[in-house]
């Protein structure tokens, strides 16, 4: 209550100044703000956004999100399995199937944290390459002398580009956990771990074939900036993929889902990870994220084409896909 009063007072003071920066910040605050509820309308420059169901100044949101993930990093994967009853693995597998990467593709996994998507990507591409190699070997069972000599000459130039996956996350703890996981799984070739902010990626333009962000974009303060950055670092023809929690359309399922989210998940968080508040933030931030259609429009606004979404588990998660053409 006191916090909101303070915000009101600040808003009144700043309104009297009326500079351009204020209105600009207000607009950007609106884009990061909750869709629909009027707790922080534009015109003001208090630059506030939502942190779960709380309203916080924008500058603070990034810090608080960082702290949340710092706390949960060690138990992140276990909690994922517990909360989603293991279904999150199926969701991530579906993301890979939708992605269908060709050998040689370069992946950027933003907010990749513990590296689930990157590991799956490398496995998928490697098995595809195996299949291709086996197929070409089968067709070359009885090569003629001409074929053999051709093979010798083309071996240098034909080296196809190896697929690489770059995992980028703003949180060093999550990356540490991911690196440990990668080392223990024995996957280290073609994988790199970079610290970076989704709103300001430390990469050049036109670098990557595929940009994915799985369960990360709702934690970003300025979603449209993250989308702009995605457009920037993608090659022409590159694909943007986002796996995120979304609106459940079925009302019965929605009631069950709400009950499960608000009653069970924070409790699980307290029991397993010892952190009630972080998981309270998690379920609240899911409610604050725009639904499938609204997010699709945001992606189109950023400049992507052929935007489509696929809903899974009745709308609990959705995969949005767009192309940079």
């Amino acid at each position: 209550m006191a916090a909101s009063m303070r915000l009101l007072v600040k808003r009144v003071i700043r309104l009297s100044h009326r500079n351009f920066n204020a209105t600009a910040a207000g607009v950007s605050g609106r884009s990061g703000c909750c869709w629909g509820t009027a707790s922080c309308r534009c015109f003001s420059d208090d630059r506030s956004t939502h942190f779960g169901f709380e309203t916080v100044p924008e500058a603070e949101k990034a810090k608080r999100v960082y702290k949340v993930f710092e706390n949960v990093a060690q138990k992140y994967d276990i909690m994922n399995d517990a909360m989603s009853l293991g279904i999150h693995r199926l969701w991530k597998d579906s993301l890979l199937h939708v992605m269908n990467p060709q050998p040689g593709a370069q992946l950027l996994d933003v907010a990749g944290g513990t590296g689930d998507i990157a590991f799956r990507f490398l496995e998928y591409v490697r098995s595809q390459q195996e299949r291709q190699r086996r197929r070409s070997a089968r067709s070359m069972q009885t090569p003629s002398w001409k074929d053999i000599s051709n093979n010798y000459s083309t071996e240098e130039e034909e080296r196809p580009q190896e697929s690489k996956a770059v995992v980028c996350d703003i949180n060093k703890e999550m990356l540490k956990v991911g690196k440990q996981k990668g080392d223990s799984m024995g996957i280290s070739a073609g994988l790199s771990w970079v610290v970076g902010d989704a709103e300001e990626l430390p990469f050049d333009d036109d670098q990557f074939d595929i940009y994915t962000i799985a369960f990360g974009i709702r934690n970003v303060t300025h979603i449209d900036q993250a989308l702009q950055e995605a457009l920037r670092v993608l090659k022409p023809g590159g694909r943007f993929l986002c796996l995120e929690f979304s609106k459940v359309t079925n009302p019965v399922l929605a009631r069950l889902y709400d009950a499960y989210s608000f009653q069970m998940i924070p409790v699980l968080g307290e029991v397993i990870a010892g952190d009630w508040k972080s998981y309270q933030y998690l379920v609240e931030s899911i409610r604050k994220f725009p639904d499938q259609e609204a997010f699709k429009h945001m992606i189109e606004d950023a400049g992507f084409y052929c935007v489509q979404y696929y809903s899974f588990t009745g709308g609990v998660v959705a995969i949005h896909s767009g192309f940079k053409l």
Partner: protein, 323 residues
Amino acid sequence: MAALLRGLRAGRALRGLGSVVATPTATTPQCSSLRRGFHCAALRLQDESKSDKPPSSSSTTYHEHYQAHSTEQDTTAASQEDSASDPAAETASGPNTSYQDQSGEQGEEYETEEQLQARILTAALEFVPQHGWSMEAIAAGAETLGLSSASTGMFYNGAGDLVLHFITHCNSQLTEILAEQHKQVQLGQAEPKETADFLRDAIETRLRMYIPYIETWPQAMSILLLPHNIPDSLKHLSTLVDDIWYYAGDRSTDMNWYTKRAALTGIYNTTELVMVQDSSPDFQDTWNFLDNRIQDVVNMATTAKQVECVVSLKNLTGLNQRR
């Protein structure tokens, strides 16, 4: 930064107006090409607009669109970018492949997604002998156009899209050739052919288009037989047969329409099957087979006319009556 964000709002308003204009025209379920055109105009305005006046964002009706559009043109004229208003006006007329005085990449934005997909698939055809009818061929085709291999995700049907695109292309080529021949006959520059010969030549021309891909054609045929591809492949086959009969001069309106097309479909499919396992020089066996099948059909038609019991059967069952 402020101007950028105001431009964003302007873009959003324009898009809102654009969607009103776009709804009357037919759109694909995934991508509205007219909206793309508007969106590109909005992007350009966002990049280049230096004016402080935002357009009236409240107008959403069709009539007010024109007023808002003219105010938008005023603001762009005021903002020292005269070239922006031209594309903005042009996109109002519909999707086009105009190459403005802007750079080539911005001309690319006016190409619809369907046209880009068609270009990728055409480029992919030359990789088919190497990779077969598959996503790898499409990825290789996209790479020759300078697009990343991830753009193959646009083709939800994958290899099926590639095969259907090729079939459509062949059919339209055949229609052009037949239309050209028809014109020649109309102008009196060529002799009209016998029906049997005409059919034979049409089918041979059409099947010869498969020769560059004959190694992988069995794979393409199997892709066309997949359940989700059957409606499309049947549609293409029926339009092909219909076109051939039309240019052969068939204007029947009775049962003959069906029997003729059914016969030709049978001939075409069986000849295609013979062709994929034919190893004679220049597929001579296939053309001989085709000759024989057409001769069979012709013979059957003449004997059917001669046999009397057929006539009395037709009278009994009422097939001879005019209905």
